[in-house]
Symmetry: C2
């Protein structure tokens, strides 16, 4: 294997970025103070943590479930990111307690999985297709890497290296090894993290193997099923498209199947492609990216419309009320977007990342940090609400780890350049031009499009500052040290190349107005409808603000105004205007009648950011309004 | 039990009405020549008919399923109605063969059920909630009554009387009897038919018992589940609302649960209420009717939006693409409507009957009579198609028996009056004013609103002719023997009371224009949308006539024209006009963009009757068009 790193940008690690942001800091604080402890309790109460004690015996209640380990791995990861920027002895104590349990559960040969160790010890590696065994390994690896980076401690990392070494001894093309790969991708991207954390190319090679082997004939899942005495045709999801194993990855042209699996897989695939210089594989990533984001993504960044496969159907099939749009799938899209952005240094990937982050991801958690959406529809009759936890609890800790690591999405570096991907108030230390540069970003984003970056190199230094021009913005200006400047835009980034001196400032102004957004005309569900967006935020109308909200139509020419309401859910910009409401008067005694009998009344409406819905009085919600 | 018949109208039996109609006669012919023989073959090939030989033994493949008997009962019923008006020795031979098998399967005690006799002989009457045992009895009874009326033969009727007598010995409030009732209602309405056919009040009393007992506490299904060693709480549908057994029927105020069960039940309930003068029960029927037809019915007459329970959700929840709207449910609504119409002599019931019949029922069968919809959505991406048969094959024979008995829905009589419910070319013999009156109706309905009835009493006679003024019609005129007349409208029927002489003619003209129909503003799915209707027919747009059909919008003021196309699917009136189509040009490379970037083109569109969709090139379909 040749290692030819094609990644243009290096992210600035979350540990090197401390948020100081009116929008995100309170959310990170809720995540740190409420959500992460809440999730520890849920993991504890449901038995997920104590499962690592390996005390379960046949006949006992509550056997460790096949995906429990992954929840604990994600919780460790979330807690570790938090500890990296916010030391917290109590949280650290909990983390070390859990880490000790995980390490203690490792078997002499390196194997580490609670379910198979105590519940089905003779079934290890017999059902990769359905049983999440390598998926759990991947999440424990991600947790271990984050834990090591946050604390410098090696116990968990070493344990997971031993596990990865063992996995490498089991799987591969070499004679005597199993040619398997996981039905739920995740280990691929985790092994890349392990490779980056350790420098051990064995993990990159193993990730490459998992990517290359997937979907080959004779099909491993067929053989594996037969070895279990099952007919492969009885696979409950019918097609291996469900787990993106229907054909080799480099031949895949369409995003299919389970959405979380898809984007975890594409993330690891992009990593492997970039790190090995595999241009064919990278071309497949680009094709799949385009199929996903140009044909199969909600305006919220939600992905995977169908409950049936928790995933994709056909192009442009984006029903609103029945949208599945799992929180984890939007998070997984963020992961894939981040990788593509670093590989290509192109803002279009970050535009999608931002769309998902501020809408279909953030909607996943309540403002108080204690309740979660698994499913994120774009319309509701008022019966859809967040829950404290789920039997399949993938989404809550996934949100926690993303929010805790948000700092890692803000900046990146390239030789001679610093990239600003996201507008988030923060202080960061970045390595550029051979030295450490301190960056201080101040902004009221996403409520306002203005902001300022103060640059503090240790000594004056020549480098380019690359500011992402958001895809939603059509008018913008820049000032350096108070003076208007023009800047060339390179792959979506305004490039300011100069010799920077400590205290230099760059101020930007991205004109942020309320936009009526339309969907591609092939999206049948949205024909004749518009959504409201301001900056990166998609808006929605809730019943508690708008009586009979589903009967509202938006006149094509009505004026839309944005207003900051400091008392609304901690302070939010609302969008207001006049709508027409179809009136029920005159419809007593009939369900259908002549169109001419419809009466409309002009009413004031108020829209709130989509992510914030279902935090007040339960009721109906609408994103796409029919036009009047 | 007091028998106080509150039924105002007596339907004219299908055997006394011979259709001679441009619209329905070809469909009845297809039903007779293609569908009924096709269904015989399907019943034969799948083992449903030979199941009555009772030769199945444990270990054999293909055990008789719990609902198979019902399909055979419905097939006998369909064939019998056909034989009543169209003698056919070959069909009669098949019917008698099947009848002999059914009769031969009866047990010495009168029991008659293939599944329980051979598959679970020790489980008889142990799971009324789930296992369709009395439901199958009901369909065999309906088949037996129709067979007797068509052929005058008694073998099957006698067998089913014995079975009903046995059932009556098992169920009831008397000590020693089970206080059960069927999870899938059907036996109630069947017992009423048996009562009417035999005059034996025992069957009316048994129907009354089943209606009265339903939903009482302590709950029979709870006790029955416990007797099986099951926890009643594990009921797979969670609530007894699924089978309308959550509370006593006379307390029920909302239509809930499985839609076919609901309307079969309400039909039997209306029969019992009317025949026993139970005004409280009749009030419940009226409430449920209103809830169903004013809050929970598609514009096609389809009912039950949800696949989950094959039934109802909440008021005004009428999603189009995911509409379940089972064919059987629309047929069951026809049954309930017919009963309410006869009880109340009010045209509003027939308006709904007609809406369902011409749209959501008739869509259930292909024009060639060989394929069937189980599910009738109001929008499709092009993936929904009729099938030859279903594992759960309730819909095909239900369609066959309804089409074969259509003559029975056209006329009714009351003392001194003849009612014309439906406009269908036909010759009928009705009993009114103490004599037989021959009626000859000529009409091009539903394509045109004109028609004529020639009245031929044996001798001149005084009676009222009651012509239904269709709910869709706002302008109409009448002529008697060529002369304009005015007529009072009584509960929706134009009353022409006079002394009729043989050869008198009544001509009507119901102005039939293309109407834009709107839904009640609470129907979120249809806000900002209109459907097209002309006469009783709801129209739809298909992809094969309209490229990119889901991107069409209908301008509020565009002119709509109806035109008879003699070459279209055997001759149909199409609706044409100009629509606006949102164009995909300019949307390359993006899925969402500014509303201002949408381009619209004016294009000609063509709509076809909803019932006829999916008979040509497969493609997308839309009923409710967004307005431009």
């Amino acid at each position: 294997m040749e290692i030819r790193n094609r990644v243009r940008l290096q992210p600035v690690a979350p540990g090197d970025v401390r948020l100081n942001d009116g929008f995100w800091t309170p959310r990170q604080e809720v995540n740190r103070r409420v959500t992460i402890p809440h999730q520890y309790r849920m993991c504890k109460e449901t038995g997920r943590i104590d499962a690592f004690r390996l005390t379960w015996k046949p006949g006992d209640p509550n056997p460790p479930h096949i995906f429990w380990d992954s929840d604990v791995g994600k919780w460790i990861e979330a807690a570790a990111y938090t500890l990296a920027t916010h030391p917290d002895p109590e949280l650290e104590r909990l983390v070390e307690e859990v880490v000790a349990l995980v390490v203690g559960a490792q078997q002499p040969d390196g194997y580490l999985n609670t379910h198979y160790t105590v519940v089905e010890p003779d079934k290890r590696w017999t059902n990769l297709r359905d049983c999440h065994e390598l998926y759990c390994a991947g999440h424990l690896i991600e947790g271990a890497v984050a834990h090591h980076q946050a604390t410098g401690k090696r116990a968990l990392l070493d344990a997971l290296c031993r596990y990865a070494d063992y996995i490498d001894s089991v799987f591969g093309v070499e004679p005597g090894k199993k040619r398997g790969y996981c039905g739920h991708p995740e280990i691929e991207l985790a092994l890349i993290k392990l490779y980056r954390a350790t420098g051990n190319a064995r993990y990159l090679r193993l990730a490459q193997y998992f990517v290359d082997e997937r979907g080959r004939q004779p099909h491993y899942y067929d053989e594996e099923a037969r070895a279990r005495g099952e007919d492969p045709k009885t696979f409950w999801q019918t097609s291996y498209e469900y787990c993106q194993a229907h054909q080799p990855l480099r031949e895949q042209r369409e995003v299919v199947g389970h959405a979380v699996r898809a984007f975890y897989l594409y993330s690891g695939m992009a990593d492997v492609a970039a790190l090995t210089g595999d241009t064919e594989l990278l071309a497949a990533c680009r094709r799949l990216w385009d199929d996903a984001t140009l044909r199969k993504m909600y305006v919220t960044g939600g992905v995977g419309p169908s409950k049936h496969n928790e995933g994709f159907t056909s192009a442009y099939d984006l029903p609103n009320e029945t949208a599945y749009a799992e929180t984890c799938a939007a998070i997984a899209l963020v992961f894939f977007a981040q990788r593509m952005a670093q590989i290509e240094a192109d803002s279009r990937y970050v535009d999608v990342l931002e769309r998902a982050l501020y809408n279909g991801v953030l909607s996943g958690v309540s403002l108080d940090g204690t309740k979660f959406f698994y499913v994120n529809p774009l319309a509701s009759r008022g019966t859809h609400h967040r829950q404290e936890w789920f039997g399949c609890a993938c989404c809550p800790p996934n949100l926690a780890r993303l929010l805790a690591s948000l700092g890692g999405y803000v900046y990146a570096t390239a030789p001679g350049a610093v990239y600003v991907h996201l507008y988030v108030g923060s202080r960061a230390r970045v390595q550029v031009g051979g030295q450490t540069v301190e960056l201080t970003q101040e902004t009221d984003y996403p409520w306002e499009g203005d902001g300022c970056l103060t640059v503090r190199p240790a000594t004056p230094a020549q480098f380019a500052l690359m500011l992402r021009v958001p895809g939603w913005c059509s008018r913008w200006t820049l000032r350096v040290n108070g003076r208007s400047v023009t800047a060339p835009v390179v792959r979506g980034y305004a490039r300011l190349r100069r010799r920077w001196t400590a205290g230099d400032t760059v101020a930007w102004s991205f004109a942020m107005s309320v936009e009526r957004v339309a969907a591609h005309p092939a999206v049948a569900a949205d024909v004749g409808r518009v959504a409201l967006q301001r900056g990166p935020l998609v808006y929605c109308l809730e019943g508690c603000d708008n009586p009979r909200v589903t009967a509202l139509l938006l006149p094509v020419r009505s004026r839309l105004a944005a207003r900051f309401d400091p008392r609304l859910m901690g302070g939010m910009v609302v969008v207001e205007g006049m709508a027409e409401r179809v009136e029920a008067a005159g419809w007593q005694g009939r369900l259908y009648g002549p169109r001419s009998a419809l009466q409309r009344e002009t009413v004031r409406f108020k829209a709130v950011p989509y992510f914030a819905w279902d935090n007040r009085k339960p009721g109906a919600m609408v994103v796409w309004m029919p036009e009047a």
